[in-house]
């Protein structure tokens, strides 16, 4: 064994692992961020200190959002005043609501139930109480 074999093994394995980490993360990120073409758009608006929702057919809801199991939803996230962050922890939906800018997040619920919605960016006095509910119902 040459005096530098260990160094080359060390360098080779570490570079190989780092390349794997980069490629795999890139592939997963692309997959996770790809919004399905048939996803229904839901406009989500954050303002001090509640969430409001508008469905594609114009139906509006405040604080409680009703969705159907087995459908994909594309959230268009707006803010009317300050920075908020739209978060549904149980479904890994987490995106900032920025005044003057539209952010996107998507998900497709595959089980029914009631799940908490919360603001995850400190947005003022009643930030702690800027909560809502997501109700996922069975598709009729």
């Amino acid at each position: 064994m040459g005096h530098d074999t260990a160094e080359w093994v060390f360098v080779g394995i570490v570079i190989a692992i780092l390349v794997y980490v980069g490629v795999d993360s890139w592939v997963v990120q692309k997959e996770v961020e790809e919004i399905p073409a048939d996803a229904e758009v839901i406009k989500v608006t954050g303002q001090q200190w509640f969430w409001s929702f508008e469905h594609a057919d114009g139906t509006k809801e405040i604080s409680t959002l009703h969705l159907k199991k087995g459908h994909a939803y594309n959230f268009e996230i707006y803010s009317k005043d300050v920075m908020h962050s739209f978060n549904i922890p149980d479904w890994v939906v987490f995106e900032d609501a920025v005044p003057g800018h539209v952010n996107h997040a998507w998900f497709a619920p595959d089980q029914t139930g009631e799940f908490p919605i919360q603001c995850r960016e400190y947005c003022g006095l009643l930030h702690y109480n800027m909560r809502g509910s997501l109700v996922v119902e069975d598709t009729p």
Partner: protein, 99 residues
Amino acid sequence: MKRIIAVSIIALIALALVPQVHFAHAQEKSAKQYINLRAEVWNEFFRMTTAAFTVGAVVSGTMIWLVWRFRESHPKNKAPTKWEKLDDPTTGTYEKEGH
């Protein structure tokens, strides 16, 4: 040593192939099925954790091997190097050794 290298390479190949199998199955989904974001994110987390621990094992393993191999009492270190040939090291000087 060759066995360690072979095992490391096999482990790396397995590490690279597992997600490919996963994605091959993912492509079989019908138009109405969507990926499970929670599963994707957690799977990625566990794969990255595996990679991180592998890097840690390689780095610390190499350092442990270096310390073990180049210790003073290692049989291969019995013969003095060309910088250690003075009969009485306390009488030597760096200037003399350098030439």
